[in-house]
Symmetry: C2
Subunit: 223 residues, 2 copies
């Protein structure tokens, strides 16, 4: 069986889990704690980062960008999450990049990184100014989602794409620690509610880390 080494609160891992589910590609998820630097894991990925996919023939695919593009290319007969037109594909990738890099740097690292990942990986105490920055930054990202979803059925255009998956994966990690102000942004909340109801999101909503459970609304489709 194909194996995905992932961590429940790693955004890129969530992107790949949702993508595999949308494409209907079966896999066995295995939780990896990269900070433990397990020998067998380091032999697969010198960067020591999740996600890592091991195919049934032994091929090892490492890294978020590589995995996202690989799944589109290696399974052309399954659901495609990038549109056909080259300029439209670039728009999807621009938005995926926004949520996987910019949102990560400005929000996720400051909130999930400081409040939860530092504790899980034993890297010290939360840094209050970073948390304040994260709480301030998230508003304009939600506004951007609202701006886009007022103009388009999905974030990058008429169809559900990797842009929606990237944004939802990123927000779901912050929602796990109850730091998304959904009530202040009903348009962004409506878009996220549509994502939550997709079957590909079920495993994400079932995530539950021992000792750090999510808030009650996290898995609620009517939140």
């Amino acid at each position: 069986m194909r194996i995905l080494y992932h961590h429940p609160l790693n955004v890129l891992s969530r992107v790949v889990r949702i993508t595999l589910a949308e494409k209907g590609i079966p896999f066995e998820p295995v939780i990896e704690r990269p900070w433990e630097r397990r020998d067998a894991f380091l032999r697969m990925t010198p960067a020591a980062e999740v996600p890592v996919l091991v195919e049934e023939d032994g091929a090892v695919i490492v890294g978020g960008w590589a995995l996202i593009e690989y799944l589109e290319e290696a399974y052309p007969d399954n659901t495609q999450l990038l549109p056909r037109d080259v300029v439209h594909r670039a728009e999807v990738r621009r938005l995926a990049d926004w949520f996987l890099l910019k949102f990560d740097r400005e929000v996720t690292e400051n909130l999930v990184g400081e409040k939860l990942m530092k504790r899980l990986s034993g890297q010290g105490h939360p840094f209050a100014p970073a948390i304040r920055a994260g709480l301030a930054n998230i508003h304009y990202h939600l506004d951007y989602i609202a701006f886009l979803s007022e103009r388009r059925p999905w974030l990058a255009g008429p169809t559900f794409t990797l842009a929606d998956i990237a944004a939802a994966a990123a927000l779901s990690c912050v929602d796990y620690i109850d730091n998304v102000p959904w009530d202040k942004n009903p348009e962004a909340k409506d878009w996220y509610a549509r994502i939550k109801s997709r079957p590909s999101f079920r495993a994400i909503l079932a995530d539950n880390i021992t000792g750090c459970p999510p808030p009650r609304h996290y898995a609620d489709l009517d939140f």
Copy 2:
């Protein structure tokens, strides 16, 4: 004419300039200082980041990942910088990701960011502990280049790919401020010497920022 908005010391801009040159796609380079937040630039890219490509038909392609993949897809008859096999393509993207994200975070931001970009963009003084971290981190990245180039003609395998472009673009920015210890790593130096001699690298070696000239060896093919 196709226009590329770029900054000489932005790694992703360098990747796109080299890629366009390798593919033989003509373009007019226009230097953009993203921190000035020019209105016309912000209308093209809400993230306010270089590089941005404006095609002759007006299509605007924004962001590193989007642009790299776009140039492969939109110009299929020009030189391809990703191999054909899907697993091999993933290896190229894994290494590109390494040098565009990991190296950037661990080395480029700490050295070029602290020493030069802060000054250019008027963002205060260099932070000495960050510079020390960057100077310490660069060694294992050079060792990794040496490790790869001892086993393969180019970083990702038998052919010159985006992995080489990403690594060379990243190192060239650090070399601009004379912080690459080439003499301690002859294998990495040999690989970089082969890159420097490529016609696609000429414009990179000719970069010269007013008030911040590069060291003499920067443009020297026999350094």
